[in-house]
């Protein structure tokens, strides 16, 4: 083989008639060029022989370029060609082939028909050029992922990313049948870094969707600059109050929850249990105050004391002694990530676990339980989902996640998994066309997908309306420390701020 075999230009032996150079059959670059020129531009492509599907219901699978398509004989006798993707599962279907011996007609489809799947043209015998129509682009939809991936809280962002990619990889790098490219970025829990990253994703990488967002303060810093540029923001963790209320945006969808609701359900639980005197503890920052406020909204007893500790304070001996001395009926805490590990461990060592009920939100979860093990048994936690849910979507998610990462998924993983499913459904509906913002927005708003939490519905402010549950830290069937659903105090909970949002 001549050295020119490496270049895309075929080397002909002479100007006279000669065999086609061998490299033309094997060159990846030529193949790519060919795909672009013939398969993905306005052109007729072979889809199958009409005679092979003589009866209504007959079908045949072939590939057009890189895409699998299915040619079907309808009940009316017409022939339709569909792209072979099942939007929700991302599975190919039609595994069997029909055979036919007679060679009569050839079915051709125009590749631009991807946009309008039902249009189909049959031509007998020969190839004809098609009339002009918009060109379907195979370029991947770019999705930015911004999360906390380093530092003590990095584990939460990692859970979000792992679960999101679980869906993307299961679908063969696609969402909604469209290839996607996920650009992972670490905001390092620094709002100024996050604003810079958001700008880079939008201006340099030209993403049309950004997902992730681990911490409220980071989301608050960047949400305006994202939605102002009409880029879709699909939040899968933080849900601060302002963006659920007055600062809501049609481009902003939060798949997880509004911060307060996770604490509200625990407040309702405390009321249901008849606790009269409760002490609340949280880090001294906005989310900490939001969670205590959420708890108080549904708790009808007396809040004996609210203790705010400096963010990143690792030792709680003083606060624990102070709280225990007031002999409360229960203690409510919000300590995300490593803080929760320290707090619960010290609570147990102080001999308080089992004596005073410990109620929590975003504290005893899949990220902290492996470090806590038995020292967290009996802790109560409130959120929207737990790994013991029995609906099929949740079971499939837990099984796949455990198989791939050998750990029980946390709620953060579940939220992000749902975010990926939401995009999967919405992208399928618009066939990957995110340029039409209105249509994609409507598709997101109404997307139907099999959420791990059962039903999924967006409120007017694009936050979910959902059941909120209460869990207890207990051993699961395999003897591992996990969360067990014990009650559902709030059904179809809408967050407290949705009325302040101008969206209908």
């Amino acid at each position: 083989m001549p050295p020119s075999g490496l270049s895309p230009k075929p080397h002909w032996k002479s100007d006279a008639a000669s065999p086609i150079p061998f490299m033309a059959y094997t060159s990846a670059e030529l193949n790519k060029k060919e795909l672009e020129r013939f398969v993905y531009s306005k052109h007729w492509c072979y889809a199958g022989l009409e005679a092979k599907i003589p009866n209504p219901g007959d079908f045949k699978r072939t590939t057009v370029g890189e895409r699998s398509v299915v040619t079907v004989r309808e009940a009316t006798g017409d022939i339709n060609v569909f792209e072979n993707v099942y939007a929700h599962g991302g599975m190919r279907w039609g595994q069997t082939r029909r055979h036919s011996s007679r060679f009569i007609a050839v079915v051709f489809i125009s590749t631009e028909d991807k946009i309008n799947m039902n249009r189909l043209v049959t031509i007998i015998g020969a190839l004809t050029m098609m009339c002009a129509a918009p060109v379907y682009s195979q370029a991947p939809v770019k999705i930015g992922f911004i999360g906390e991936l380093s530092g003590p809280q990095g584990v939460i962002g990692q859970e979000q990313y792992d679960a999101f990619m679980l869906v993307v990889q299961r679908n063969g790098g696609k969402l909604g049948g469209v290839p996607v490219e996920v650009l992972k970025e670490d905001s390092q829990l620094k709002p100024d870094v996050a604003t810079q990253i958001a700008q880079r994703l939008i201006e340099r990488d030209k993403v049309s969707i950004i997902t992730g967002f681990t911490f409220s303060n980071v989301l608050m810093a960047v949400h305006k600059s994202i939605t102002e540029k009409e880029v879709f923001l699909i939040g899968s963790n933080a849900g601060p109050a302002p963006i659920a209320g007055a600062q809501c945006s049609p481009y902003q969808f939060i798949v997880s929850w509004q911060n307060d609701t996770q604490a509200e359900v625990v407040g309702q639980y405390a009321t249901d249990k008849g606790y009269k005197r409760v002490i609340g503890l949280a880090p001294n920052y906005q989310a900490g105050k939001d969670f205590i406020a959420g708890f108080k909204r549904f708790y009808q007893g007396e809040i004996v004391d609210e203790i705010y500790t400096p963010l990143n304070q690792p030792d709680f001996a003083a606060e624990l002694a102070q709280a225990a001395a007031q002999k409360p009926d229960a203690i409510f805490i919000f300590y995300p990530g490593g803080l929760g590990v320290s707090f619960i461990r010290q609570f147990q060592q102080a001999g308080l676990l089992g004596k005073i009920p410990l109620l929590s939100a975003s504290t005893a979860d899949g990220t902290s339980l492996p470090a806590l093990k038995d020292s967290a048994l009996g802790v109560i936690s409130g959120t929207f989902w737990g790994p013991d849910f029995t609906n099929p979507a949740s079971k499939q998610f837990v099984a796949e996640f455990e198989k791939k990462f050998s750990r029980i998924p946390s709620q953060y993983a579940a939220q992000s998994y749902d975010a990926a499913l939401l995009l999967d459904a919405a992208l399928a509906q618009v066939q990957g066309n995110v340029v039409d913002k209105k249509a994609f927005m409507a598709a997101l708003r109404r997307a139907q997908f099999n959420s791990v939490r059962g039903n999924f519905k967006f409120n007017n402010n694009h936050f979910p309306v959902q059941d909120m549950h209460v869990f207890e830290v207990a051993k699961d069937a395999k003897g591992r420390i996990s969360l067990k659903t014990i009650a559902t105090p709030l059904k179809n909970r809408e967050d407290a701020y949705h009325t302040q949002c101008a969206l209908k």
Partner: protein, 327 residues
């Protein structure tokens, strides 16, 4: 610095390249890089301010992020209350900055060496916790700034104009700093660094000189903070964390303390390495790219150690020394 020495040429070249950045980003159609370079210049400006007392006065302040924060909060809080005039922002920021710097400086300058490092940290931490407790201004979550400071004749809403504003401020500060260092004042300051007791015996009121230098250095950081808030349109206590103070020191030392442009070079080195490593995509085998992207701090840490071990005067200091042939 001798005129037209290789080092001066290098400095001119760097500044000329900075001036051409908006053109380059426009040509390649990536206006995003403008923001990165603008950010580098702002941190370079802050490190330059710190270096006035660190490199030339021997005063290692571990609390200069406080002044960055004062500048940023002046913009954020005034805008929050509907005062959008940039001149008011600047006046208030400098007034508060000068007052705080005089008060803090006169306490801190009673000490020197390690004690000075820690007492400046103490004051910065107190301001940090103060900012965290400002609940009406966002507390720990910080404050978004709806619109950039309104300076009348220049529209900072335009990215290119904002860039050139930062550039001009940097140039002006460099110019001012050069004159300051080579004035009698600068001589006294450098004298205090090498032997303060001798300066005092010579009849120089050393403390007054050092305090003045401290206040000037703080004001450069206040202006950098003001620009930073305008660039990111966001302000939070995170700007005042002790890590930021530490980074400013690292930038100054990494670039070369003994030089004017060193801190700017240090800021560029640190931020560019961070930018490059965290979005590395060279197509290296065995997933090395992704590994470095995820763990970019490890190579950065090793790089810093290597710089210290091999280049004794920092990145720019070394280059400058090598070029002028007087290492």
């Amino acid at each position: 610095m001798v005129k037209a020495s290789p080092r001066a040429l290098a400095a001119v070249a760097i500044l000329a390249i900075l001036a051409l950045v908006p053109l380059l980003t426009a040509i390649i159609g990536q206006p995003f890089y403008l923001t990165i370079v603008a950010r580098i210049m702002i941190f370079g400006l802050a490190a330059l301010g710190l270096n006035l007392i660190l490199g030339y006065g021997g005063m290692v302040s571990f609390g200069h992020a406080m002044y960055l924060g004062i500048g940023a909060y002046a913009v954020a809080i005034l805008t929050f209350h509907g005062i959008s005039s940039g001149w008011v922002h600047l006046a208030v920021a400098l007034a508060i900055g000068v007052t705080v710097a005089i008060l803090v400086g006169s306490v801190c300058l009673r000490t020197s060496g390690m004690a000075f490092i820690m007492i400046t940290l103490a004051f910065a931490q107190m301001f940090f916790f103060l900012a965290v407790s400002l609940k009406q201004y966002g507390g720990d979550d910080g404050l978004s700034i709806p619109a950039r400071s309104d300076f009348g004749f220049v529209d900072l809403g335009n990215a290119t104009l904002l860039y050139y504003t930062i550039y001009v401020v940097l140039l002006a500060t460099l110019h001012g700093a050069w004159h300051l260092i080579h004035s009698r004042f600068g001589m006294v300051l450098r004298g205090c660094k090498s032997n303060e007791r001798r300066m005092i015996s010579l009849g120089v009121p050393a403390l007054r000189y050092k305090l003045t230098a401290y206040v000037i250095s703080a004001q450069v950081c206040v202006i950098a903070g003001l620009l930073l808030a305008n660039l990111t349109r966001f302000c939070s206590p995170a700007y005042m964390q002790w890590q930021v103070s530490g980074e400013l020191i690292v930038m100054a030392v990494l670039g070369g303390m003994g030089t004017l442009l060193g801190p700017v070079a240090g800021a560029a080195t640190l931020l560019l390495i961070e930018e490059v490593l965290s979005s590395l995509n060279l197509g290296l085998p065995w997933g090395i790219d992704a590994f470095i992207r995820d763990h970019w701090m490890a190579p950065l840490g090793l790089f810093i150690v290597l710089v210290v071990l091999t280049l004794k005067q920092g990145v720019y200091g070394h280059l400058a020394a090598a070029r002028s042939g007087s290492a």
